[in-house]
Symmetry: C2
């Protein structure tokens, strides 16, 4: 069973460890990578052997995170997962390491323990905010690359300070990281503004697929393998698509259905103040945060859609009459 630890206990574990393998979640985003590489750099600053691994290829736009770090080959003696809410999210190649995970640092309220020790703080909008506290506890002085990694995690998981998971502490940490020298503007441009033509084409096709239910309170967007193929988009191009349905005027619940090759659907739910995304996904065997959650569904297009709309109706009773 997993034992809860504090920031200083987690720091103590890492201080005693060496030959550390850091696990990030599959379909990596700015927060799991920023957490992983910032922690990796901090532990290397203490003279330890550390490397970061991921089930999937890491999008090129994150390359600055490992710039200047030499590869270290070693037999891992300590496994630490960052921003991984469930062992399934390690992905096929890393899931075998779940049982050996000594420490997991996560910020998902829906975290399903698979590790020996857990540092969890669901009040943190980004996991990188917890990593910043751990690095300070380790007594490592932040450098610019660490600040860039941590800033990236904070900015990407809070929608550049736009989402409701942004708190005064989020802003204070951003200020601290900018004072260290974080390249906030180029990072934000790369994360939020610049789109590849493939991504643009994918977004176009996805938006075309948008359908509305419950008098426009529910918006459902589909992403198929075919869209990925015809647009030439890669995994990285999928990031940032899930918020789109909820950004349409009048929408309470925005859902993005990504059809996988095996026919199953990866479902992302985004909500505003009127609905709780984690409640909806809990009904579907998934989990996440109040405004952003996910789950996996299987079946025909129609069956999956009905299951999803049913769960939304159940979790958001105020929508019921509209959904009939």
């Amino acid at each position: 069973m997993s034992e809860r630890v504090t920031v200083s206990q987690a720091a103590a574990l890492l201080r005693e460890a060496d030959r550390i393998l850091i696990l990030t979640h599959h379909f990596p985003d700015g927060d799991t990578l920023g957490s992983g590489y910032a922690l990796c750099r901090a532990l290397r600053a203490l003279g330890k052997q550390v490397r970061v691994v991921c089930n999937d290829a890491i999008p090129e736009k994150y390359a600055y995170m490992w710039e200047g770090m030499e590869t270290q080959d070693f037999e891992p003696a300590f496994v630490c997962a960052v921003d991984v809410a469930d062992e399934k999210l390690l992905g096929e190649t890393l899931q075998p390491l779940a049982a050996q995970t000594e420490l997991c640092i996560d910020h998902h309220g829906s975290h399903r323990p698979f590790e020996k020790r857990l540092l969890l703080d669901a009040a943190m909008g980004a996991n990188a905010m917890i990593i910043l506290q751990v690095i300070e506890e380790l007594g490592v002085t932040l450098d610019v690359p660490m600040a860039d990694c941590l800033y990236t995690g904070i900015a990407t998981d809070t929608g550049c300070f736009k989402y409701s998971n942004t708190t005064p502490l989020t802003h204070r940490m951003a200020a601290q990281l900018m004072e260290v020298g974080a390249h906030a503007e180029p990072i934000n441009r790369a994360m939020f503004d610049i789109k590849s033509r493939a991504r643009l084409s994918l977004e176009q096709q996805a938006l075309q697929s948008m359908t509305f239910y419950a008098e426009g309170r529910i918006a459902v967007m589909k992403i198929t393998e075919e869209m990925l193929t015809t647009s030439g988009a890669c995994e990285g191009d999928l990031e940032g698509l899930s918020p789109l349905p909820r950004q349409i005027e009048g929408v309470w619940v925005g859902a993005t259905l990504r059809r996988k090759e095996d026919g199953s659907y990866k479902v992302s739910i985004r909500t505003g103040a009127h609905a709780d995304a984690s409640e909806i996904c809990a009904l579907l065997g998934g989990g996440g945060h109040a405004r952003a959650a996910g789950c996996t569904l299987s079946g025909s297009d129609e069956a999956v859609l009905n299951e999803l709309l049913g769960a939304i109706k159940q979790a958001v009773p105020r929508l019921q009459e509209n959904c009939e």
Copy 2:
């Protein structure tokens, strides 16, 4: 001639004044309105008669700024302009008041004095950051509506903390305003995220029209009256479309051509570090800033496009060989 004053001198002037008229700039944005209404609320808290005026109708999305404030009719005895860089920007109806302006509080380095006294701080990404300092100097305790107004000004003028004008102080002030109770998430949602279905449809059609030249270095997007009609979009839905072409990976020059009913084209140019938008538009009888400029062209679609591409080639020689 205009005399420069400090924050405390500006506060002293306002403390001694009454029956205060606050001028905002025309085509009002979140910063001029947030500055105006926050200052108005603070001065009313000191028992003064104050009102905010603008040359143009104020978009409905800003209505929360004056919620609960009763109208006050009085003969103005003190005129104060906020976020107004030039008397021309007061607009036709307010420009006659330029000569009577006792105090202007502004953050534009390009400010052209028209007022008796000027509080200018070009290091502030948003004018609302200066207003916050003035309100503190006045000794007024911030309330939630003031915090909402100031947060709106800061968020809108910094692209929600994304632009290079964002500093550690910007984040610290955002933290302070959130602690007072600023409704950051709904404000950001209203300012940055929410799109009407009409706007979404218009954006879709506009993006479909995008064509690339010079090996993808130039992107041209067209907006026709027909798109406005079929999408049901209004003038307000056009806001924020012009940056889209430039946000595509590899694009140096992004152009948006809006075809008017009279057949002429309103052209908006956006550039990155590789090209100067004002140089391009100067060649076409227009003008603007280095990264954002505009002009008007007339002729057939083909003639206008050739004239535009020719000017871009001339202003950005490094593109020439690609444009052949």
